[in-house]
Amino acid sequence: MTLEVLLQAIASGLLMGFVYALIAAGLSLIFGLMEIVNFAHGEFLMLSMFTTFWLALLFGIDPLVSVPICAALLFLLGALVYKGIISRILRAPMLAQIFATFGLGVFLRSTAQFLWTADYRILPNHVLSGRLDLGGIFLSWPQVVASFAALAAVLALYLFVMRTETGLAIQATSEDREAAALMGIPGDRMYLLGWGIGSSCVGIAGALLANFLPIFPDVGFLFALLAYVAVALGGFGSIVGALAAGVIIGLVEAVGGLFVPSFKYVAVFALYLAVVLFRPQGLFGRY
């Protein structure tokens, strides 16, 4: 194996890693806020990809233009899910919390299959195409744009949570909802915002991925699984952890794929298990 191939794998791995990081960051934000894992996260991604697809097919809207549209729509979906389901199970046992979102995921996936069949679909023609030649390393433009946009979104999310007043309010709520309420922070609204923002992260990722990946009802499963692994690896509730873990997973997947193509995800999951067994709170976790 030449150095070139290895560099190629590392570059592709990094690019995918940023997208994984964005999906994981949305999940992580929600968990950090209220300790609920959104097991329908992958289905949110799938809905965003289908939205992009239909916008392109029916209204001729380019996937790049539908990034903000998907972000807004998924924000609404997240807020609706919070209002309709999550706010009712905030104090329920963990079992009920897991299965509420797990069931929502099954429901969304089956509905998508019912409405749009299980066929794989590919966006026909879009602005982004072609490849980028970096001295022998070839990267496709859609992937490059997707990954840098995803990185930008993760950084924006980080700055929002760390630097803005609303972000601080979200952090305060995640530390202690009652104490935050005494300071005049409406916990319910912060939760709503958290779900909205977490979902719009996955909405952005979905619109970006639709540029170069096939779209089908089950598409979210793998991404969601990698996102859970990224969140647990990085530590629940840590955006920096999600970014680091996303990149690690992208690299392990790409480089592992060079050596053992059909076992690349085994490598990813085995790495995750190994880390978590020695450091149960993840790399950057608080708990």
């Binding site: 963990m94 079992l95 859970y228 647990a232 709170q281």
Partner: protein, 292 residues
């Protein structure tokens, strides 16, 4: 004045007993119906409803197996399909390679599944809550990938059982599905029986304690061996049923089945074998009316 508490106590005890009798009678009626109805279906040549009943028994067994870990002990496993598939693969391989009857394959599958579950459970129970749930998904995906790529056991297309003459020893019945039903029913009864046994045993009390949600990475820390015991127990009687679904392929252990069986047990508190969720989590209060 002094007699008042005594009277309410007596009333409460009586009420508790009446409720128990009611549930027992209800259980007997349902069990009898489940034994008799298939005969009627068979006589009417209604094959599909019979098939549905068989699947109900199978899913009930899987759900009860999940319930022991998820309901009583409060650990959410989303990778139980691994153990279902292990049982199916073991007995199928024993039959196709060594010509062993599935009746020997079933206990062999149980042993292998138990060994695998202990090997997986022992390290994984260091994790709790969401971390455990996600670890089980990861383990499930690893095993799924391994089996898809494992040529010797059929790879992605799986193994097909040969068509054998109809006989109890071959575990194949072609003229009627009735034997499958009674086997599945017996399996479900065994699963419910072992759930009851666990609930009534010291283990059940320990598990009920484990089931209380705890925060932090080590809920119920220091009890790994106990959780491993329960993990093992749950694998008990849910091993067969795949002879009915003839081809055994990696899809068997896919997340779909895990989802199907993970969703089944009663949700809110989880736990009780009879669907009452006040027993599993607070075993100390069993049979005592909350009105006390």
């Amino acid at each position: 004045m002094a007699t008042q508490p005594h009277r309410s106590l007596t009333v409460a005890v009586l009420r508790g007993r009446a409720r128990r009798v009611f549930w027992c009678l209800g259980g007997v009626v349902v069990a009898l119906a489940l034994l008799i109805v298939p005969f009627i279906l068979e006589a009417q040549r209604l094959a599909h409803p019979l098939h549905v009943l068989i699947m109900i028994c199978l899913y009930a067994t899987l759900a009860q197996a999940w319930n022991i870990l998820g309901g009583y002990a409060g650990q959410v496993s989303l990778g139980n399909a691994v153990y279902f598939g292990t049982g199916a693969y073991t007995s199928t391989l024993l039959m196709t390679r060594l010509g062993l009857s599935p009746w020997l394959g079933i206990p062999a599958g149980m042993v292998v599944a138990v060994a695998l579950s202990v090997a997986i459970g022992y390290p994984c129970f260091r994790l709790g809550g969401h971390y455990f749930a996600i670890a089980t998904i990861a383990v499930g995906e690893i095993v799924h990938t391994v089996f898809i790529n494992w040529r010797e056991v059929g790879g992605a297309s799986g193994i097909h059982l040969p068509l054998l003459p109809e006989a109890l020893i071959n575990f194949q019945f072609h003229s009627s599905k009735l034997p499958y039903y009674y086997i599945a029913f017996g399996m479900a009864a065994l699963a419910f029986g072992s759930a009851f046994a666990v609930e009534r045993s010291r283990l059940g009390y320990y598990l009920g304690h484990q089931g209380r949600p705890a925060r932090g990475p080590f809920p119920g820390g220091g009890s790994y061996s106990l959780q491993a015991v329960r993990h093992r127990n749950q694998r008990g009687p849910n091993r067969d049923g795949r002879h009915l679904l003839r081809p055994v392929h990696p899809g068997d252990r896919s997340r779909k089945r895990a989802a199907a069986l993970a969703v089944r047990p009663d949700l809110p508190g989880g736990g009780a074998g009879r669907g009452r969720n006040d027993l599993g989590t607070t075993p100390g209060c069993r049979g005592v009316d909350p009105a006390l």
